[in-house]
């Protein structure tokens, strides 16, 4: 069933039926007006797109889907509390350098400093060619065994060699100062290496930067003011059914699967309402799809006694939550 959309984006072409089908390892993705508008704005203005939503709502998948639709390179990184700006731009591998100092013979000699540079995600985006040789030349990189492979999914379209979809996932997990540290590479398309040299982006670079947040932590205002915002709301029953139809396009028994899908979707919405009233994390879209897949595989419907166990393991994920949910009724 095609998603109803009234907005036709200018800077990219929506897939047929407004839903990207499964493409290799890329999961299906259903677009809506808000998503299309936000992405179109990000492409028109060159601003990063900050996508917020509950876990499992499809934030990270949007980046993969856009890379597939646009046929651009795809690079991604997931932030943690230990992530520093140098991890995303360039840093030295001190341990390897110290190891080589101890183990390399006099004849072999030490490698030049640049051979110990570890290009981060921004270096790969701004200038893939120099990142692959760590800032040296191709011949030197070959000589010192310092050449690197592209760490993401490269485009198959030659004309899109300098066009990249960059996913910075879960930025709210990073330390509070890190988003502000990203402003220079995001705004100016350049950064400074540890050796003081500057890495600038190639002239015909095009980037779509998608940054996701679970909103577990507030982001700095200076960072938020530079991003286009998109909030992925929890879908209703009909949208869940639509999403399921794209994830499972050819079920064996279409009628039975359709009934099962609607029943599981109804259950999911009911559990979301319960979780919200108890101030718990509600089950997500991905959990709904997991539950549906399991029901179909085990040939179980929502009335089956095994469904109670499925609810607990997939949708609620906490033994105490179920008792609380029952007692609260």
């Amino acid at each position: 069933m095609p998603t109803e959309m009234t907005y036709i984006p200018k800077h990219f072409k929506l897939p047929p039926n407004n839903a990207l089908p499964r493409t290799g390892n890329i999961e299906p993705y259903v677009f809506n007006d808000n998503i299309a508008i936000a992405v179109d704005i990000a492409l028109a203005t060159g601003r990063p797109l900050l996508v917020a939503g509950a876990p499992g709502s499809g934030k990270s998948r949007l980046a993969e889907a856009m890379a597939t639709l646009l046929e651009w390179n795809y690079l991604h990184t997931t932030m943690t509390s230990r992530t520093r700006l140098e991890d995303l731009t360039a840093d030295y591998d001190h341990l390897l350098r110290m190891h080589d100092a101890q183990t390399r013979s006099k004849e072999e000699g030490m490698k030049p400093d640049w051979a110990y540079l570890k290009p981060g995600i921004f270096w790969w985006v701004f200038n893939c060619a120099t990142a692959s040789v760590r800032g040296g030349t191709a011949e030197e990189a070959e000589k010192h065994n310092a050449a690197l492979d592209y760490p993401g999914l490269p485009t198959q379209v030659e004309a899109n060699r300098n066009k990249t979809v960059l996913l910075i996932d879960e930025i709210d997990k990073a330390e509070p100062d890190l988003p502000n540290d990203l402003l220079e590479p995001l705004d100016r398309y350049r950064f400074t290496r540890p050796d003081g040299k500057q890495v600038d982006a190639v002239k015909d670079l095009e980037i779509l930067t998608i940054i996701t947040t679970n909103r577990e932590r507030e982001l700095p205002a200076a960072f938020m003011r530079r991003c286009v915002g998109l909030v992925l709301e929890a879908p209703d029953v009909d949208k869940l059914v639509n999403i399921a139809e794209h994830h499972f396009p050819k079920p064996k028994d279409a009628d039975a699967f359709s009934k099962l899908t609607r029943a599981v979707a109804d259950k999911t919405i009911s559990l979301q309402e319960q979780a919200n009233s108890l101030n718990r994390r509600p089950p997500s879209t991905s959990e709904f799809l997991d539950a549906l897949k399991t029901c179909d595989k085990l040939k179980i419907d929502v009335e089956h006694e095994a469904w109670q166990l499925i609810e607990q393991s997939i949708l609620i994920k906490d033994l105490s939550d179920k008792n609380d949910a029952t007692n609260a009724e």
């Binding site: 009234t6 907005y7 036709i8 984006p9 200018k10 800077h11 007006d33 808000n34 508008i37 936000a38 179109d40 704005i41 492409l43 028109a44 203005t45 060159g46 601003r47 509390s81 230990r82 520093r84 140098e86 001190h94 341990l95 110290m98 101890q102 709210d172 997990k173 330390e175 509070p176 100062d177 705004d187 100016r188 398309y189 350049r190 982006a201 670079l205 095009e206 980037i207 779509l208 577990e216 932590r217 507030e218 700095p220 200076a222 938020m224 003011r225 530079r226 991003c227 286009v228 915002g229 998109l230 108890l278 101030n279 105490s320 609380d324 007692n327």
Partner: protein, 334 residues
């Protein structure tokens, strides 16, 4: 497509213009979505048109002459300024207004229906917009203040070159590469909020503080306990059906918001026994303790301990003040 404009600043009107002029929006919903995505509010109310031809208009601006301008005195000696001139009196029109009053009918014996109806907001009335509440730690500075107060030390990734060189020059290979200490908020904190009677004027501030701490550290990293006078009896209501008591085996920094029983009194008594016990417990377990007090230091009770870091919970408190007290971050047992 994407426009390379280096030195970009905040999203502003130019981005909005680009989006509105470039993108093929068609409906009001599309337009609203564009405004919201760029962080602009969308208002669809139009200013009321003034009907100047209406005979019911009380005051006719067209008949009022413009006010004479006030000329400054040019002959005053230097260093002296003339007193402010008196305000120009408003000229009232020389009109006798026709009365709009109507003679009412006799008051009916039965009460009208509308008298017993619930008050409803009329369709053309605009609801009053309440002024935003100012927090004791302002929105602009609370991130820096709370980060400075709650950060803990951890092993960093930056190699400590001088220390490493020292080992190498001695011919020693360190088992662990020496690194600089870094600070982090990833350990989170325990937030103890005093809901006793003396804190009643600050109850809304306590709620706002909880939001601020969760926003900076992350909701899952903050455990919130509520207590009434005795912080050791603090209880966490994450599970609304069963309270969890505060324990000392959690060594994360403790941030307490309380007036320590001051209640606005000016006499500096020694701190009460419950607080002394609490401070000693935290000190013995090496739990970093930061106390936010809504009164200034002249009101603080005497605490004969260097363990708690006392902070005036006030808009004038800065992150620098906190950093001077906390230093390079708390050291906690992992």
């Amino acid at each position: 497509m994407t426009q390379r404009t280096p030195n970009k600043t905040d999203i502003g009107l130019s981005d909005l213009l680009i989006a509105l002029a470039d993108l093929p929006w068609q409906t009001e919903a599309h337009k609203k979505a564009i405004f919201h995505a760029l962080g602009f509010a969308w208002q669809d109310s139009k200013p009321d048109a003034i009907d100047s031809s209406s005979p019911r208009q009380i005051f006719d601006r067209n008949r009022y002459q413009q006010r004479p301008s006030i000329k400054s005195v040019s002959n005053t000696p230097p260093g002296f300024s003339p007193p402010p001139p008196p305000p120009v009196p408003i000229e009232l029109p020389q009109l006798i207004l026709n009365s709009q009053l109507k003679v009412l009918d006799a008051v009916p014996e039965e009460a009208p229906e509308w008298l017993n109806q619930d008050n409803v907001l009329l369709a053309d009335e605009k609801p009053q917009v309440k002024a935003a509440r100012a927090n004791l730690f302002p929105n602009l500075t609370h991130r820096g203040i709370l980060s400075a107060a709650l950060r803990v030390q951890k092993r960093g990734k930056d190699v400590d070159i001088p220390r490493l060189i020292k080992h190498v020059t001695k011919g020693q290979i360190p088992k662990i590469v020496p690194t600089h200490t870094a600070v982090t908020l990833e350990r989170g904190c325990q937030l103890l909020l005093d809901y006793s009677d003396s804190m009643v004027p600050f109850w809304e501030d306590l709620t706002a503080l909880a939001d601020q701490v969760q926003n900076v550290l992350g909701k899952e990293r903050v455990k919130i306990y509520e207590f009434d006078q005795d912080p050791t009896a603090g209880q966490c209501w994450d599970n609304p059906l069963a309270a969890e008591p505060w324990r000392t085996d959690d060594t994360r920094p403790v941030l307490v918001a309380s007036d320590l029983g001051i209640n606005g009194g000016r006499v500096r008594w020694p701190v009460g026994a419950t607080w002394r016990r609490f401070i000693v417990l935290c000190s013995q377990k090496q739990i970093p303790l930061i106390v936010l007090i809504p009164w200034r230091s002249a009101y603080w009770p005497e605490i004969h301990s260097s363990h708690p870091i006392m902070v005036h919970w006030n808009p004038h408190t800065t992150a620098t003040m906190i950093k001077k007290r906390v230093g390079a971050g708390h050291q906690i047992q992992s």
